[in-house]
């Protein structure tokens, strides 16, 4: 696909998705009302809905989508594996175990978020120590993450079994990823901007890492420090999402591939475009999750998969 067309596509997609997120919701507001509210012309129900409910939610969704796409692209480069996604190294598993345990003990939402963060950090540290430790390599890192994820899955099943029926629904929402509890887009945006800047700064090195460690070292890339940097940047991005919205699946796996299938290869262009595409995609999916069977909300993780699977399959079959 030609460069100008791509640029136009992404420049249109981002504001349109944000506008859709603000314009649609369980309360019907006309576009005029939304615009008035955005301009802050008059106080009223529409203004409250737009500023208090929809804008923070849209901001959260966009930041989380961008973070997931960024983390996915980074881990695919680090592990040199197209199947890598933000959760492949066990971050979501560790986070989920801690968050579900907190829910089981009936802790408040803030405490659940704190537990999610603690679990994510514990998983990051554990995988790092075991995978990167003496003589570590990327295959061991990947296997360590996959094995720990399997262990976490077992613990998650155990917690779901032990939990009283009334709590299970909330737990499932958390596991599938859900933005209805998202309150603090500021943190996610901060992490997104810092992580994207760091990754973009190393974009050339990321391209070269794809050639293999030996070749990368022979070209003058400091491979080990780069791998540490990618690991912790991707982990911070994933942890920020998991704390904000739970384990939203699929965005981190498919969005980088979606952008690549449009013909973008180098990380200098791939990373920012993946962030825009991931943010737009999750914003649209979340808008649908809020409105499809309003006033009921669907977990957005279900929609990301339901929308993403056919889209990626279509692109895969078209490109040879």
């Amino acid at each position: 696909m030609s460069r100008p067309f791509l640029l136009i596509l992404f420049l249109l997609l981002t504001p349109l998705s944000l506008l859709a997120g603000v314009a649609f919701g369980s309360v019907d507001l006309s576009l005029g009302e939304v615009m008035c509210a955005l301009a802050g012309k008059e106080a009223g129900l529409a203004t409250d809905i737009v500023w208090q409910l929809r804008l923070p939610r849209v901001a959260s969704a966009f930041a989380c989508g961008g973070l997931l796409a960024l983390a996915g692209a980074l881990l695919q480069a680090l592990l040199r594996n197209p199947l890598a996604d933000p959760y492949v190294l066990g971050i979501s598993g560790g986070s989920a175990v801690a968050a579900l345990a907190a829910m089981l003990f009936g802790l408040a939402a803030a405490a659940v978020n704190l537990a999610a963060l603690g679990g994510a950090l514990a998983a990051v540290g554990l995988v790092f120590a075991l995978g990167f430790g003496r003589g570590g390599n990327m295959v061991r890192l990947l296997l360590t993450g996959v094995v720990l994820s399997a262990g976490f899955s077992a613990l998650i099943s155990l917690l779901l079994t032990l939990a009283p029926g009334a709590q299970v629904r909330g737990m499932l929402f958390w596991l599938m990823g859900d933005l209805s509890q998202a309150q603090a887009p500021g943190l996610a945006w901060g992490v997104l901007l810092v992580a994207l800047a760091l990754a973009w700064w190393q974009a050339n090195s990321l391209d070269i890492l794809g050639l293999g460690e030996l070749k990368a070292r022979s070209l003058g890339v400091a491979v080990r420090p780069l791998q540490f940097g990618i690991y912790f940047t991707a982990s911070a991005a994933t942890a920020a999402v998991v704390v904000e919205a739970g384990a939203i699946g699929f965005v981190g796996l498919i969005v980088p591939h979606f952008v690549r299938l449009l013909g973008v290869s180098g990380h200098r262009r791939l990373l920012p475009l993946a962030v825009l595409a991931g943010g737009s995609f999750l914003t649209l999916a979340d808008t649908l999750a809020r409105t499809a069977i309003a006033p009921q909300q669907l977990p957005v993780g279900v929609l990301t998969a339901l929308l993403g699977v056919p889209l990626l399959l279509f692109l895969l079959t078209r490109r040879t």
């Binding site: 391209d207 050639l211 293999g212 022979s218 070209l219 003058g220 890339v221």
Partner: protein
């Protein structure tokens, strides 16, 4: 100029190289020969700064390799490792451009980089495939693009691990002639792992033979490429067939 003093190399349970002393000068073309597992690749890595030797010193222009900043060393010594596979979705040209990394300042690709990359593709006869997606190329075409990346890197000293991998007979000869020209006309030094004794005898002026127990024979190709040395090296009976372009060594 690459200088090796008192180099010892081993892997667990096996000594690969004991007290090696050689100097590889600009314009020279060295071949490394040896049986599978004799340590050819390990030696190549040690001589290009990718591996720390057990003992001894490898210097480039008098300075030990580890004392160089990585990117600066990459402007002096370039390596074509054995194919590690790659995660690369771009075109052949974009791939070759990655070889310019040691020369880049800050961001971005300059016109000079693009010219160098295109010239490198031209040299391996892949210029008309510059815009092809790398993964759509055949194994041999990809190998030529990998060689082009090394040319775009433009080091003073070329280290190549089995550069003829996947190449057909005609392209094998072409690749070796290209490397020979780099040495003879541009004063580059070339060091490569080879399995083909015919090519080694014809295109290398110096040979390193890796025997068991860390014994290494180093010297001029004319002196070392003898039936006796090669029979002992490959532990296999050979026949020598002399032709006007060099000697064939065939299993007896």
């Amino acid at each position: 100029m690459l200088r090796v003093q008192g180099l010892n190399l081993s892997v667990p349970g096996k000594v690969l190289c004991r007290d090696l002393n050689i100097t590889i000068k600009p314009g020279e073309c060295w071949g490394i020969l040896g049986r599978n597992g004799s340590g050819k690749t390990t030696l190549l890595h040690a001589l290009s700064g990718l591996r720390v030797p057990d003992a001894g010193l490898v210097t480039w222009d008098g300075k030990p390799l580890p004392d160089y900043p990585r990117r600066e060393l990459a402007r002096h010594i370039g390596v074509l490792p054995q194919d590690e596979g790659h995660e690369f979705w771009g075109t052949a040209l974009e791939y070759v451009l990655l070889g310019r990394y040691p020369h880049s300042r800050g961001f971005g690709i300059t016109d000079g980089d693009e010219e160098a990359a295109l010239a490198a593709l031209q040299q391996v006869g892949m210029a008309d495939m510059a815009q092809r997606t790398l993964i759509t190329l055949s194994g041999g075409e990809r190998q030529r693009v990998r060689i082009a990346m090394l040319l775009a890197q433009a080091p003073q000293h070329y280290c190549l691990d089995e550069p003829l991998q996947h190449l057909d007979l005609g392209h094998q000869a072409e690749a070796l002639r290209l490397l020979q020209r780099l040495a003879a006309e541009e004063g580059k030094a070339v060091l490569m792992v080879l399995h083909e004794t015919l090519w080694a005898g014809r295109y290398c002026d110096h040979i390193l033979m890796l025997y068991d127990e860390g014994r290494v024979l180093a010297g001029s190709a004319a002196e070392l490429m003898t039936l006796k040395n090669l029979e002992e090296l490959y532990q296999c009976g050979l026949r020598e067939i002399e032709t006007e372009v060099g000697s064939y060594f065939l299993p007896a």
